[in-house]
Symmetry: C2
Subunit: 256 residues, 2 copies
């Protein structure tokens, strides 16, 4: 039995086809465009690569920011529920999920059975979200995926005293003007994200194992900084960005 | 007897020469530059226009963000104290001062005798400060002093749902792209500042009369929006930006 999970985020759309609630047979991540074009492309991609048709799919479950506008879904389920399901599948021992998305950050506490027991969320402030990294990459003239490479070159992260994206941007510009090197600046930027999200995480309480998910988790600079800030190891999967979509597909399986 | 007050802010330096703690004989506002060049120019300006020399000045008092680096000062006094003194001189009936500066916002409660009884401050978040307006003026290709003119043309302020400067910027850009007119956008931007600072003001409690000071208070769009948000009249002086420097000069008089 196949189920399809789609996660319609603010900056990317993700789709996962799951077989019998167990195996990912196809996945796709597409940069969001206007309306539902992004998610439609992601769904087309997973159907193509799995050689399935929509009629072969038992249940379609949508999650994420844009789920309400996606009419194909049999169920529309909150990101928190889907993230918890996805992460528990991938890492059964994880008790704390730190998910940093394009425009928000959430920290979810899980019980041993994978049920969500608590969460905190920031979707009001760009600091500590992917948007902070976008702004900084832009002023440093770097692509988002170059940040990780630069951060790894530094052993002396620049100190960025402002949490606020706008004030931190000015600090980075002026440190750049006084000749601070890019790797140290990028490492400082990653550290700033980690400090902001760690403060959020401490509000729910950190119980190990801790995993990171969401697009920003792909950046090892942020993962390493987060690990230092929290004083714990961080579990990470190459499917980190797919957790919501995976969880949605699992939800569909459970309902079928 | 002459006293000199200087207010070294993040974006402008202000200087006031006061005669006998009563009459402003000269004032100057200079856009801040590197180090103390801005305040030195402001002081030169007030000495020139008053035809006084430094030796004629009984006491020099510095306030504001940059006061610690200003060696000429006989006293260095907090912005809050100086603002309270300046405002109470100009408006003896004012009990609540809302000061929006280039990078911060503060709300000060005064007793009937002008003494500060309480305050709240935001210097962490660019929203609800002059910096928010700078960012918005920049994307609309307007000068800061054009914002007021545009806001006055609107009777239907655009709704900006995000408080965060970064997210609000995206909203304004996308509303601009869909053809929303500039006056409505600017009025919405002024309203956003007012909402943010009104929330801060409500934390100390609003007691009338309420006055606005600081550079942002010069913008009637923000003053009108603030008046609507708080449901009170707002007192305003053309010297609004000089309150800190005036209070510093008064402090010098009292100490002499
Ligand atoms: S602190 Fe900065 S990034 Fe955060 S809400 Fe305020 S303006 Fe936005």
């Amino acid at each position: 039995m196949y189920t399809l999970g789609v996660d319609i985020g603010s900056t990317t759309s993700k789709a996962v086809i799951l077989e019998d609630g167990e195996n990912i047979v196809a996945s796709s991540i597409v940069v969001a465009t206007v309306g539902t074009a992004g998610v439609e492309e992601a769904v087309k991609n997973v159907l193509n690569s799995s050689k399935l048709e929509l009629k072969d799919i038992k249940s379609v479950v949508a999650t994420g920011y844009g789920r309400m506008n996606y009419d194909l879904a049999d169920y529309k389920v909150s990101e928190l529920t889907c993230h918890a399901l996805g992460v528990h599948k991938e890492f059964p021992n994880v008790r704390t999920v730190i998910d940093i998305g394009g425009q928000d950050a959430k920290v979810i506490s899980l019980a041993a059975n994978g049920k969500m027991t608590n969460f905190v969320m920031n979707d009001k402030c760009a600091a500590g979200t992917g948007r902070f990294l976008d702004v900084m990459a832009n002023i440093l003239n770097l692509q988002i995926d170059e940040l990780e490479i630069e951060a790894l070159k530094s052993d002396n992260p620049a100190n960025i005293s402002s949490t606020c994206t706008v004030f931190a941007e000015s600090e980075v510009i002026s440190q750049l003007a006084t000749g601070r090197n890019i790797p140290d600046l990028v490492a400082g930027i990653c550290k700033s994200v980690a400090i902001r999200v760690a403060a959020l995480a401490k509000r729910v309480g950190i119980v190990e194992e801790v995993c990171m998910s969401g697009g920003v988790a792909k950046n090892s600079g942020v993962r390493n900084a987060m690990s230092k800030e929290l004083g714990v190891d961080i579990v990470f999967s190459k499917n980190a960005q797919l957790m919501g979509a995976l969880g949605a597909a699992i939800y569909g399986f459970k309902k079928s």
